[in-house]
């Protein structure tokens, strides 16, 4: 896709960098975490230098993801407040998934689905950070009663699996909606893309023009 001086800026460089720090940390966490989750995934620990290294690194990478996600939260939370139009969007999500966006309400910078994903990820990261701390045996587990460690272990695994599913949907949606990934790679989208997928945002930043 050719870049055009009239392209619209969707993400600034610091926003993109922030996103990719979270993204890279997530990928490393998912690979190392899955290794402990099911024997079938244990070989993934080899990416980290074996099981012991995966065990050592995983929680530290978790801290990186949690902190960088907090930064991202403060960048984007206002843009993700859910409006009545978003609720309508979510009510029609079946049409969207079916590939028919004609009746979808005009989306702002984010559509209802993106906003829902944002808040679900906020919940996931909060739960993972808290439960992860409780099961961080080297430094923190001794501070908690065994019942809480058991509950945190279960919750950490279930929430992590849920988050992996959410991120697959997040990545797929970016691939599916052509012309989207460049927004997170070099920051711009075409005007046509903005008008098609986020028409309210398009009107807002162009003043309704072309």
């Amino acid at each position: 896709m050719k870049r055009d001086p009239k392209d619209l800026i969707r993400y600034t460089a610091p926003e993109r960098a922030n996103h990719w720090v979270v993204g890279m940390a997530f990928i490393l966490l998912a690979l190392s975490g899955l290794a402990f989750f099911h024997p079938a995934f244990y070989p993934l620990s080899q990416f980290f230098g074996g099981g012991v290294w995966a065990r050592i690194l995983h929680p530290f990478i978790g801290v990186v993801m949690a902190l960088s996600f907090v930064a991202m939260f403060f960048r984007f939370w206002k843009l993700n407040l859910i409006t009545p139009a978003d609720k309508e969007w979510l009510g029609r999500i079946g049409e969207m998934v079916n590939g028919d966006d004609h009746n979808m309400p005009a989306a702002g910078k984010y559509n209802g689905g993106q906003k829902l994903l944002f808040w679900l990820l906020v919940c996931c990261i909060a739960l993972l950070a808290v439960s992860g701390l409780v099961i961080w045996r080297a430094y923190f587990s001794a501070l908690f009663p065994i019942g809480m460690i058991r509950f945190a272990s279960l919750m950490h695994a279930m929430v992590a699996a849920g988050m992996i599913c959410l991120i697959i949907v997040h990545v797929y949606a970016a691939i599916w909606t052509r012309g989207t990934i460049r927004a997170m790679l070099y920051g711009t989208v075409s005007r046509a893309w903005a008008k098609q997928h986020h028409s309210a945002w398009f009107r807002q930043i162009t003043g309704g023009g072309k």
């Binding site: 079916n98 045996r137 587990s141 272990s153 992996i164 046509a192 008008k195 997928h197």
Partner: protein
């Protein structure tokens, strides 16, 4: 310790059968608390045979020494003074350590393949060379036994002297016990022996004497003869009906296949969505609008 490699009943984080063509005799250690005098010879024999020297601790005014199980103290005597009948002091001394459960919570929780082995003779053994130090065994254990070493971050516990048992010897603690409070042999024989002891204790006024072989963990390969089997909690908090926590069962049971399946389903669903519905592209009308 990797002896008895053809006699494996279960192996941690392993979904295929372990080498198990041979069947061996199920063994058990029977600890008769009514015969224990608290001399700690078993503790000494344990550190002697396993060549472990724990830190010298501090006397805090009780007989327990060391105060708790550690990565270097795999068995400790726990002393409790109780009055089950008012005015009749009893000194209950329990030799604590791994119970070698038939359904081991440590093995269920362990994520490292082969780090925990259950031999067909019933011994549950840690293979520290495969241990990754996550501490899930502690999370899974209903008896609070495994300890992670501060020096190497590996988990340690009683091996039931699997290296001695593997060559036909009895565990070191059994060998040394001066009163015969600890005996070792076929589990069947140990149960039979316990029955005799329980009958004897009942005849001497301990109406609730009994064998501690908790079925919630499928029975154990370290069993106790208790004077008060109705109240195991008297013996420094021995759990009454121990079983693997339902949290651990959920975590290591249905959650693993179910969520792995869900992740696969979402990934495949995405691929097939693309193939069936095609990409979500900008419509031709809008595209043309911006072409000049």
């Amino acid at each position: 310790m990797a002896l008895q490699s053809l006699d494996i009943k279960a192996r941690s984080a392993t979904t295929t059968p372990s080498p198990s063509v041979r069947e061996t005799l199920e063994v058990a250690k029977l600890i008769d608390i009514s015969k224990c005098i608290g001399c700690k010879a078993c503790q000494v024999a344990c550190m002697e045979w396993n060549d472990l020297r724990d830190e010298i601790g501090t006397n805090v005014g009780v007989y327990d020494n060391p105060a708790d199980l550690t990565a270097k103290s795999w068995t400790v005597m726990r002393f409790s003074e109780v009055e089950v009948e008012a005015g009749k002091l009893e000194w209950l001394i329990r030799k604590d350590g791994c119970m070698h459960c038939a359904d081991p919570g440590c093995l269920k929780a362990c994520p490292a393949p082969g780090a925990i082995i259950q031999y067909s003779n019933g011994i549950v053994d840690f293979h520290e060379e495969y241990c990754i130090g996550c501490g899930y065994c502690i999370t899974g254990c209903p008896f609070n036994v495994p300890r992670i070493s501060k020096t190497d971050n590996k988990a340690y516990k009683c091996t039931l002297c699997s290296d001695r048992v593997g060559v036909g010897l009895e565990p070191a603690c059994v060998k040394t016990c001066p009163t015969g409070a600890i005996t070792f042999g076929a589990k069947e024989d140990m149960i039979h022996r316990a029955e005799g002891r329980v009958a004897d204790l009942k005849g001497r006024g301990y109406a609730n004497a009994g064998l501690y072989d908790p079925q919630g963990v499928g029975g154990t390969h370290v069993m106790y003869v208790l004077q008060h089997a109705d109240k195991p909690g008297l013996y420094s908090g021995l759990p009454k009906d121990p079983s693997i926590s339902s949290m651990v069962c959920l975590w290591k049971g249905i959650t693993k296949p179910l969520t792995s399946f869900a992740i696969g389903l979402v990934a495949l669903g995405s691929l097939f969505h693309y193939i069936t519905k095609g990409p979500n592209e900008v419509s031709n009308d809008i595209e043309k609008e911006f072409e000049e």
